[in-house]
């Protein structure tokens, strides 16, 4: 049936069909992710349109510097992820592992900074719910802003945690020599996923931190 029976699952005719199926599957999955975040973005847009001042006031409580550093960190992690895929295509086991570890480190730094930001918000009583306190005539509407801030960045962070888990799995696979120049689809697929998660942040950062700020 195929030249490399070990790498091709029984339902596929050959490695090419298998790789194309994996690629299409991943892109379709990313489409579903796009729709998921799309739901949040629609809600954000509707309320930003309804309460522009409250959203500007809310975003002025966010730490632009930390958000900016995180943006840089995430872009770096996308670079190392892309390098990991390249190393996989070239079949260099060591290169894959080093770049994946770097990506995990950058991802970890991002989540660490995010955790610091979250804890600041908790101290400042800016977490929506019964404990929300803000001295402002439109504090209720600002609370809406923070509802979206936590729902959107929380969902994003959750995706990053899953991505880091997938990379740890890839490192174990790479160590056992599972990937070579012909078979590296899992690295490529996780790469696509990671880039998608980064791109979501590229939209979240200006929408939440920068827009309308003075």
């Amino acid at each position: 049936m195929s030249a490399r029976p070990g790498a091709v699952a029984h339902q596929f005719d050959d490695a090419r069909q298998q790789r194309e199926a994996a690629e299409l599957g991943m892109w379709t999955f990313l489409l579903t992710e796009l729709m998921l975040f799309g739901g949040f973005f629609v809600g954000y847009t509707a309320y930003r349109h309804a309460y522009p001042e409250a959203f500007i006031e809310g975003s002025s409580h966010l730490d632009v510097l930390m958000g900016g550093i995180n943006t840089g960190v995430l872009i770096m992690s996308s670079l190392t992820m892309a390098l990991a895929v390249r190393e996989a295509q070239l079949g260099r086991r060591k290169g894959i592992i080093i770049n994946l570890i770097l990506t995990i480190v950058f991802g970890g730094v991002f989540l660490g900074i995010k955790a610091v930001e979250y804890s600041h918000k908790i101290h400042e009583h800016l977490v929506p719910g019964p404990n929300f306190v803000l001295d402002s005539p439109i504090s209720n509407n600002v609370q809406l802003f923070f509802s979206f801030y936590f729902a959107m960045t929380g969902t994003h962070a959750f995706h990053m945690i899953i991505g880091i888990g997938l990379m740890i799995w890839l490192i174990f696979k790479a160590r056992s020599g599972a990937f070579n120049g012909e078979y590296y689809a899992p690295v490529e697929m996780v790469g696509l996923y990671w880039h998608f998660v980064d791109i979501v942040w590229i939209f979240l950062y200006p929408l939440l931190y920068l827009l309308g700020r003075h």
Binding site: Q11, A21, G43
Partner: protein, 550 residues
């Protein structure tokens, strides 16, 4: 052809197929075979169907008398909520796609399995976990928000197990996404040599369109349910007017999925009807390409009409007008299908076996359901009948008269392939008739009730509505019996039915070219397709034709 398929051959000696290749619970729970996973789905949705049916029994029993005497108002609210939730999310949405689509799509396209068998099994487990959460909610005391989870019933003012149910729906959503994703990739990448897009059976086209909706719509429901759950659990106020939130936003997000979800239920049935009508008229389907594209048109347009659920929710009048217009527009591709099926029947040599009876039932009842949908899409009429039994009757004509009839047609049509046995034809026709009569007696009076102004979702009603309600309950009883008969004879036939042979209907399509039940790998050699779908010819010509090489 018939020499190859061997339907005239004497009962075969025991042979290895997907059912007897391994035995034991483990071999089923860990199977990666799409046919077995399809059967796992079939068994689980049957359980959910019976459960949802029990809630319906309680509803109809309460409505026999005008006074709210059998159930208290709160209990009644829980009954119709659970009925809707279970039937929509745990029966209708997975019904044809996850059970029969799973079984048939690889067979129909000449593949050994779906593209991602592990994901396929995972989707079943996810479905079961979601179902267990919902059952847990029942044990916790049930939910009373209606299956639509409208805020603030489901957030600020909820006093029932909303969280567990929402988590259940959230989880099942993933099983739907995984199934849709698997189908899309499989249909794109795994077709047998020679099987071009325009040679695909229309069942496959319908499932492709369905999968698009599953993949694009479900995540938005997920987002909406996550936001409701956060509001319910943490007290944040995305839909809470006290904070400036807007409950109507929830309705937008919910219906963005849940209107297209209607097409998740009906499109696969339309695919089934195309197969069955063509086979039992012994004629090529009329207007193949138009039917194929109308499925895609329904999938796309279906995403643009959600606002017709919100004509009285305070959305802008102009939005209402546009949504009304688009809702009329989406009726066109559905009507095209009905006309094409009718044209297929014209001058066909028709036989009324059980699947055909259900398919004919589908065409008639779906047409009624669709046309009354146009009444509801008209702004002024909708204001009059909104939230009345007219709406209830309308969507039951689509979901039960349409989707469920198609499901029953499919079960009977492919039962010989699934089980390798024939069901008793006489009982089959009898129960199809019982279901048709019971269905109409149940739901036609509800059109009248609604038009007269009886609102939905109340356990008591004025005396003048009693006659029609008693008729409806009587019909529901007949309908219930109608569903139990096939359940009994299908299980009976698994052991005692006569052996079916590969192709008992002399139907076209790759699934009929392999043995019944098929071997685990579906085809011993990869089939090569050289002709279009539904290449039915005059009976005498058909005998000599052997264009497809097995």
């Amino acid at each position: 052809m018939s020499a190859l398929t061997g339907e005239d051959a004497p009962p075969q000696a025991p042979r290895q197929h997907y059912l007897n290749v391994t035995y034991g619970v483990r071999s089923w729970l860990l199977t990666l075979d799409h046919k077995r996973i399809g059967l796992l789905y079939l068994a689980s949705i049957t359980v959910f169907f019976l459960l949802g049916g029990m809630f319906a029994v309680m509803i109809r029993a309460e409505l026999v008398t005008p006074a709210g005497d059998l159930l208290q108002a709160e209990t009644y609210n829980k009954m119709f909520t659970m009925h809707g939730l279970v039937m929509v999310f745990f029966f209708l949405i997975p019904s044809i796609p996850a059970a029969l689509g799973n079984f048939l799509i690889p067979l129909m396209i000449g593949a050994r399995d779906l593209a991602f068998p592990r994901l396929n099994l995972l989707s079943w487990y996810v479905f079961i976990v979601g179902g267990l959460f919902t059952l847990f909610a029942v044990v916790q005391g049930g939910v009373d928000t209606g299956w639509t989870f409208y805020t603030p019933y489901s957030s600020t003012y909820s006093n029932s197990a909303v969280a567990a149910t929402a988590v259940g729906v959230f989880i099942t959503g993933f099983s739907s996404v995984l199934t849709g994703l698997n189908f899309i990739v499989t249909i794109h990448k795994m077709r047998a040599p020679g099987l071009t897009w325009f040679r695909l059976p229309l069942f496959v086209w319908a499932h492709y369109a369905t999968s698009l909706i599953m993949v694009l719509g479900t995540p938005v429901l997920t987002a909406a349910v996550v936001l409701v759950a956060l509001e319910h659990l943490l007290g944040i106020g995305i839909f809470d007017p006290k904070l400036g939130g807007d409950p109507v936003l929830f309705q937008h997000l919910f219906w963005f999925y849940s209107h297209p979800a209607v097409y998740i239920m009906i499109l696969p049935s339309m695919g089934v009807v195309s197969e069955v009508i063509s086979c039992f008229s012994r004629k090529r389907i009329f207007g193949y390409k138009v039917i194929a594209f109308s499925s895609l048109a329904i999938a796309v347009l279906g995403f643009l009409v959600w606002g017709h659920h919100m004509f009285v929710s305070g959305q802008s009048v102009y939005a209402g007008m546009i949504f009304s217009f688009l809702s009329f527009f989406v009726a066109i591709p559905s009507a095209i299908k009905v006309f094409n099926w009718t044209a297929t029947l014209y001058k066909g040599s028709i036989s009324y076996d059980t699947p055909m009876m259900y398919a004919m039932g589908f065409i008639g009842l779906f047409t009624i359901g669709g046309l009354t949908g146009l009444f509801l899409a008209s702004l002024a009429v909708d204001v009059h009948v909104h939230d009345t039994y007219f709406v209830v009757a309308h969507f039951h004509y689509i979901m039960v008269g349409g989707a469920l009839m198609g499901y029953m047609a499919a079960i009977h049509f492919w039962w010989p392939k699934i089980s390798g046995r024939m069901y008793p034809e006489g009982w089959g026709r009898f129960s199809a008739l019982v279901i048709f009569i019971g269905f109409n007696l149940t739901f036609f009076p509800q059109f009248i009730l609604g038009y007269l102004g009886m609102p939905r979702r109340y356990h008591a009603y004025p005396d003048e509505f009693q006659v029609l309600n008693v008729m409806s309950t009587a019909g529901a009883t007949i309908l219930g019996v109608g569903y139990l008969i096939p359940l009994i004879y299908l299980i009976w036939s698994m052991r005692y039915g006569p052996r079916a042979g590969s192709n008992p209907w002399k139907a076209k399509g790759l699934e009929w070219e392999t043995t019944s039940p098929p071997p685990t790998e579906n085809f011993l050699t990869t089939p090569l397709v050289t002709e279009e779908a539904y290449a039915y010819a005059a009976p005498d010509v058909e005998e000599q034709e052997g264009a497809r090489v097995g």
